[in-house]
Symmetry: C2
Subunit: 307 residues, 2 copies
């Protein structure tokens, strides 16, 4: 039996101006998975710890993602999947994406890497489709490619890996409240003023420029979302207070992670990221709500093998 134990990282999608197209990969928070190739054909979820998730292959995001990969390959191999869930479901830091991306990454490795990391994205997106009804790529792409990613187009799928400046850290607070997907969708308007759209794509261009030129101040100035954040942030307790505290304590920028409720702060240097974490902690402690805080370097590698 061939077997791989892997780390499947959490990810921050959207990144303010980059709504629906940008994302980045974290390093200190993620699931562990053990993926094994076995003699008997078929995909089985053999163990799930840390979350109450379906064991049936076709109802499990990792299961359907691996099914999509094997179907494309036209091979009827046997795969066992163990999931040690550490990313909380509904946190907005790519919990389902970690499982589906991790599973296809490991299966691909066990089969001699017939697909490139970029090619694996479409399989992992099947897991996202099961999880949310929408085959989005903005969490699975950074999990599979590492660093910062851009979904230039969905049809045809065109995903780009951007540059990762070495000194970037994320502070993420996950308020443990439930925001219904239907609520976070219903606050979004289907049309936007052209002037705001132009403002937003100016910032997307600025953010991408900042990443390639490693201009931290430019990255910070570009982390502005004039379209989604003003609408969605009302669902996140103390969003403005947290954002202002992050910025006034040196964060380059802050915004909603994915569709929330997590809030990310992008920082230059770990000292700033930790200072921001401690200030945000003070704010959230007062609310009485449960919360987690993660401080992480941007993970330029993505999924990795654990010993």
């Amino acid at each position: 039996m061939d077997s791989l134990k892997i780390f499947a990282p959490a990810t921050v999608a959207n990144l303010s101006c980059g709504f629906d197209v940008m994302g980045c990969c974290l390093d200190t928070v993620g699931d562990e998975m053990i993926i094994s190739k076995v003699a008997e054909p078929g995909i089985k979820i053999t163990k799930i710890e840390g979350a109450d998730l379906p064991m049936e292959t076709h109802k499990n995001v990792a299961g359907v993602a691996v099914e999509a990969l094997l179907q494309k390959l036209g091979k009827d191999v046997g795969i066992h999947i163990e999931i040690y869930k550490k990313i909380k479901a509904g946190s907005g830091i790519g919990s389902s994406a970690a499982s589906s991306a991790g599973a296809v990454w490991a299966v691909n490795k066990l089969l001699g890497s017939p697909f490139s990391p970029t090619e694996l994205i479409s399989f992992a997106m099947e897991g996202e489709k099961l999880a949310s009804g929408n085959a989005h790529a903005d969490n699975v792409a950074p999990a599979l490619l590492g660093g910062f990613t851009l979904v230039r187009s969905y049809s045809p799928l065109d995903v780009l890996k951007l540059n990762t400046p070495q000194d970037l850290f994320m502070t993420v607070i996950h308020p443990q409240i439930e925001v219904k997907t239907s609520d976070s969708r219903s606050v979004i308007k289907h049309t936007v003023p052209l002037t705001k759209a132009i403002h937003q794509w100016g910032n997307v261009g600025g953010l991408v420029t900042g990443l390639f030129t490693e201009n931290y101040e430019l990255i910070g100035r570009s982390l502005e979302d004039v379209i989604i954040e003003p609408l969605r942030s009302i669902l996140i307790p103390e969003f403005q207070t947290v954002k202002e505290a992050a910025l006034s304590n040196g964060a380059l920028g802050a915004g909603i992670s994915g569709s929330g409720p997590s809030i990310f702060s992008l920082c230059k240097g770990i000292d700033t990221a930790q200072k921001v974490a401690s200030e945000i902690e003070k704010i959230y402690t007062k609310t009485g709500l449960d919360f987690d805080i993660h401080v992480s370097k941007i993970n330029d590698q993505g999924i990795r093998i654990l010993n």
Copy 2:
């Protein structure tokens, strides 16, 4: 008397997905100007050849741009401006921008360069405001900085110079028809579907990535405008035929230059740019309309001194 003779280049604004924020600088088409520092205070337009433009300083784009510069500097110096206009007015390749950018660039040089090229943008924008009622920067920025530029934000003004891959050439056809500014504005809708806006900012991110990574195919794939071009192109005769001919003859992408009626085709290599030019020429010859065709390397320097 100190005097400078300069080349003030034409520019292509918008660049498909980069509507209102991106632009690039041409090298083979542009105005010539002679700017002189004289003893008697005041700004005078002393000569205009090649176009019927106002000689009164406060009605001339170069005049008002220089006025803005001198006002900021708080200096009452004497400036004479001669304009040898080669870029046709209303062509959509930055005719007014060349005059205002060229004038402030040369005056700044004559005064010992108190301002950086980026700082000169806001003065040149005063010329654009006079010309069109709108102080836009997407033509004056590439004229002053050279290469490809991005206006990340207008308030505060934040203009970035991007990277210029060495082998990029533009073919521009200028159909000599008059498109009224009011018409080219009135076809644009003030709200856009969110899905199209997301598509557009994915392409802006892709285009900026393509420029920095010098990935010509990516630059081509990203030159797509799902918002403005479908509406505005109806004002330009044979737009679709020209675009299709450009693409089928190897252009990376094609679109409306500025607000038209010029059509740009971005090409890898001068051979492709010239082939595209000759195919477009055949199409336009059949229409009976007058037209100019320009083939130019992307000018990474911007305005330059002539001997």
